[in-house]
C-alpha cells in the first residue's frame, strides 16, 4: 500500500497538462469502439431475423387479405373474405380437430414419459453416457427416415407391429385408414422422435436441484414417487413451462409426419383423416391459392398463441406439480 501511492502520484501529472489533438481523436475512436461495437455485434442477428423471420410472418397478414395467386401480378384486396370462407370450410375444422387430437395424443404422454425418464437418469448409474446418447438417437434420425421406417412398421399386411399384435390375437389393424388408428400411429412417430430430447432438457434442470432437499425428504421417510412429485417437479417448474410451450408450438405445426405417412398425399389420407393444419396450408400453397393459405396461417398463429397461453397458465398455476 505505502509503496504504491507514490507510483500513482508520479504517473498522473505528465498526462494532464497538455492534451494533444491526436490523443483527443484516439479517445473519440475508443469511445465509439466501446459504445458502438456491442450494437454492431448483435445487429446481424436482429437484421437477418427481421428479414427472414419476422417480415414474412407479418407480411402473411397482408397477403391473407387478398385474392392472391402466385403467378399473376394482380392481387385483389378482398378484406376478410378469405377468413369468412375459412370459418365455413369443413376441411378447415377437420384439420383443426386432427391437429388438436394428434397434439394431445403425442404431447401429453411424451412429457410424462420424459419426466419419468429424466428422473430415472438423475442418479449415479453405470453406462450413464450410453443411456443418454441412445436417448438422443431418435432426434438425430431425420423425420423422413422416421416416417418411412414407421410406415413400414405400421404396414397392414407385412408390418412388424401388426405381426407382434397377432401374438395377442389382435387382427391386422389398417393403421392408415381409421381416424383414431392413424392419429395414434402419427403420435407414436412424434413421441419416438422427441421424448428423449425433452428428457435430456428435464435432466439438465433436475441436476441443478440441491441434493440436500432429497436427503432431508429421505430422512422424513418420503418415497421415490413423493420426492418426484413434491420436490423435483416444483423445483424444475420453469423448465417444464418452457418445454410445454415449445412442444405446444411444435405440435400445432406438425406437417412432415402426416404428409409422408400419407405417402405424399396433400390431403392427409383419402378421407382427410389425418390432415393437419400445416398440411392444409401446404395443400393450398401448392394450389397457388396464397391468400387463402395465408389466412389459414394466421388462424393457426392465433390458435398457437391461445393454446400456448392456456398451457402457460395451467403449468404455472398448478401447485405441487403436474400430477
Amino acid at each position: 500500500m505505502a509503496t504504491r501511492a507514490p507510483d500513482r502520484l508520479a504517473a498522473v501529472p505528465p498526462g494532464k497538462p497538455v492534451r494533444p489533438r491526436r490523443r483527443v481523436r484516439r479517445h473519440l475512436v475508443h469511445q465509439l469502439d466501446v459504445k458502438g461495437s456491442p450494437y454492431a455485434y448483435v445487429a446481424p442477428f436482429f437484421l437477418l431475423f427481421s428479414a427472414f423471420g419476422l417480415f414474412p410472418l407479418a407480411y402473411t397478414a397482408w397477403v391473407s387479405l387478398h385474392e392472391w395467386v402466385l403467378l399473376s401480378d394482380e392481387q385483389t384486396f378482398v378484406g376478410l373474405d378469405n377468413f369468412r370462407t375459412l370459418l365455413a370450410d369443413d376441411y378447415f375444422w377437420n384439420a383443426t380437430f386432427n391437429t388438436l387430437s394428434i397434439g394431445v395424443l403425442s404431447t401429453v404422454p411424451q412429457l410424462l414419459l420424459a419426466i419419468w425418464l429424466a428422473h430415472l437418469l438423475n442418479r449415479p448409474l453405470r453406462a450413464q453416457t450410453f443411456f443418454r446418447v441412445t436417448l438422443l438417437l431418435p432426434n438425430v434420425t431425420s423425420v423422413v427416415a422416421v416416417v418411412v421406417i414407421f410406415s413400414q412398421l405400421f404396414g397392414r399386411d407385412f408390418g412388424m407391429i401388426n405381426w407382434m399384435l397377432s401374438w395377442f390375437g389382435v387382427g391386422a389393424v389398417p393403421w392408415n385408414e381409421g381416424v383414431a388408428s392413424s392419429h395414434v400411429a402419427i403420435s407414436i412417430m412424434i413421441m419416438w422422435r422427441w421424448t428423449g430430447y425433452n428428457a435430456l432438457i428435464f435432466l439438465a434442470a433436475m441436476q441443478a436441484v440441491p441434493r440436500e432437499l432429497y436427503e432431508a425428504a429421505t430422512i422424513d421417510g418420503a418415497g421415490e414417487f413423493t420426492q418426484l412429485r413434491r420436490i423435483t417437479i416444483p423445483m424444475i417448474k420453469p423448465t417444464i413451462v418452457f418445454v410445454v410451450i415449445t412442444s405446444t408450438i411444435g405440435a400445432m405445426q406438425v406437417l412432415a409426419e402426416p404428409l409422408l405417412f400419407g405417402v405424399y398425399t396433400l390431403t392427409g389420407g383419402v378421407d382427410r383423416q389425418y390432415q393437419t393444419l400445416a398440411l392444409f396450408i401446404y395443400e393450398n400453397f401448392i394450389k397457388l391459392d396464397l391468400g387463402y393459405a395465408s389466412a389459414i396461417s394466421w388462424m393457426m398463429f392465433i390458435f398457437i398463441v391461445v393454446i400456448a397461453g392456456i398451457n402457460y397458465l395451467i403449468t404455472r398455476r398448478s401447485r405441487g406439480g403436474l400430477l
Partner: protein, 289 residues
C-alpha cells in the same frame, strides 16, 4: 472450464439417498428405452440389405442380408444422391459456421459488454424463439422468387444464418466461462473490442461453439419442409431426395429404406463419436440462469 465441472461431477459419491426403486428395474426400463430408440434404424439397415421379396416373409427378417451394395447402386441410379449429399454438406456446413460465428459475436456482446438496452434486446432474442416462423413460409417463398434464389442453395443458407437459440446458448456459456479479468487485461494492453473478440473470446468460446456447430449441422441436415418447398428434385438436398424416393416408389420399400439408411448413417456415426460432447452441450445450454 468444462474439464473442471466434469471432474467435480465424477467426484460425487457413488451412492446417495435411500435405494428407493430397485436398481434392477431402473436398468431394465432404461435398456428397453435404448432398445426402442435403436430398433427403427437397425430395421432400416436390415431391409436395406435385402430385397423386396424378403419383406413379405412372416416373420419379417431380423438380420441383415447381402444385398446392401446392389441397393445402394439402385438409389444412386434413381435419384441424384451424390449431388444431394454434396448439397447437404454445403448447406449444413455453411449454416453451422455462420451460426457459430454470429452467435459467438452476439453472445460476447450480451454476456460481457455494457450497452444501453442490453437486457431488453436479450429478452427479445429469447422471445423470438417462441415465434413460429414456419407460418411465414409463403411470403418467404415469394421473397425467394423476387431474389431469384428458388432452386438454389442460397434459399436454404441465407435465412438460416443466425439462430436465436445459438445466441442464447453462447450468451449463457460466455457469461460463465469468460473471466472478466481477462477482458480487462486485454483492454489494458490496448486491444480494441474487435481485438478482444479474436484474441480472448474466440479461444474461450471454442468448445461451446463446436457443440453449437454440431447441433446446428444436424438440424440443418434434417431440415425437411423448407427445402421441399423451395428446391426442385433435380437439385435436391438429402432429405428432398429421400422424399422423392419415398413418394415416387411407394411399393419399393427396399429402395426407400436404403436411401434412409444412407442419409442417416453418416450423421449417426458422427453422433456416436461425438455424442458425449453434444449431450454435455445440450445439458449446459438447457440450464437456465
Amino acid at each position: 472450464m468444462t474439464g473442471m465441472t466434469a471432474n467435480r461431477a465424477k467426484a460425487r459419491p457413488a451412492r446417495r439417498g435411500a435405494p428407493g426403486a430397485p436398481r434392477r428395474l431402473i436398468y431394465l426400463s432404461l435398456t428397453a428405452v435404448a432398445f426402442f430408440s435403436a430398433i427403427p434404424l437397425y430395421y432400416s439397415v436390415v431391409v436395406a440389405s435385402r430385397d423386396n421379396a424378403a419383406l413379405a416373409e412372416v416373420p419379417p427378417p431380423l438380420v441383415p442380408g447381402g444385398n446392401f451394395f446392389a441397393n445402394v447402386a439402385r438409389v444412386f441410379d434413381t435419384v441424384p444422391f451424390g449431388l444431394a449429399l454434396a448439397n447437404s454438406v454445403l448447406v449444413s456446413g455453411s449454416i453451422a459456421l455462420s451460426v457459430m460465428f454470429f452467435s459467438t459475436l452476439a453472445g460476447f456482446a450480451f454476456a460481457k459488454l455494457r450497452f444501453r438496452g442490453r437486457n431488453a434486446l436479450l429478452l427479445l432474442t429469447v422471445a423470438t424463439m417462441m415465434v413460429p416462423t414456419q407460418l411465414g413460409i409463403i411470403p418467404l417463398y415469394m421473397l425467394m422468387v423476387k431474389l431469384e434464389w428458388t432452386g438454389t442453395m442460397y434459399a436454404l443458407i441465407v435465412p438460416a444464418m443466425v439462430s436465436a437459440f445459438g445466441v442464447f446458448f453462447m450468451t449463457q456459456y460466455l457469461s460463465r466461462a469468460l473471466p472478466t479479468e481477462l477482458l480487462e487485461a486485454g483492454r489494458v494492453d490496448g486491444c480494441t473490442t474487435w481485438g478482444l473478440f479474436w484474441h480472448v473470446v474466440v479461444p474461450v468460446a471454442r468448445p461451446a461453439a463446436a457443440v453449437l456447430g454440431m447441433l446446428t449441422f444436424m438440424s440443418a441436415w434434417n431440415d425437411y419442409f423448407w427445402p421441399l418447398v423451395v428446391l426442385t428434385p433435380e437439385n435436391p438436398t438429402v432429405q428432398v431426395a429421400l422424399s422423392t424416393l419415398a413418394a415416387g416408389y411407394v411399393n419399393d420399400y427396399v429402395l426407400g429404406l436404403t436411401g434412409t439408411a444412407l442419409g442417416t448413417l453418416p450423421l449417426v456415426i458422427v453422433f456416436g463419436l461425438l455424442g458425449k460432447q453434444i449431450i454435455g452441450g445440450i445439458m449446459q445450454g438447457a440450464v437456465k440462469g
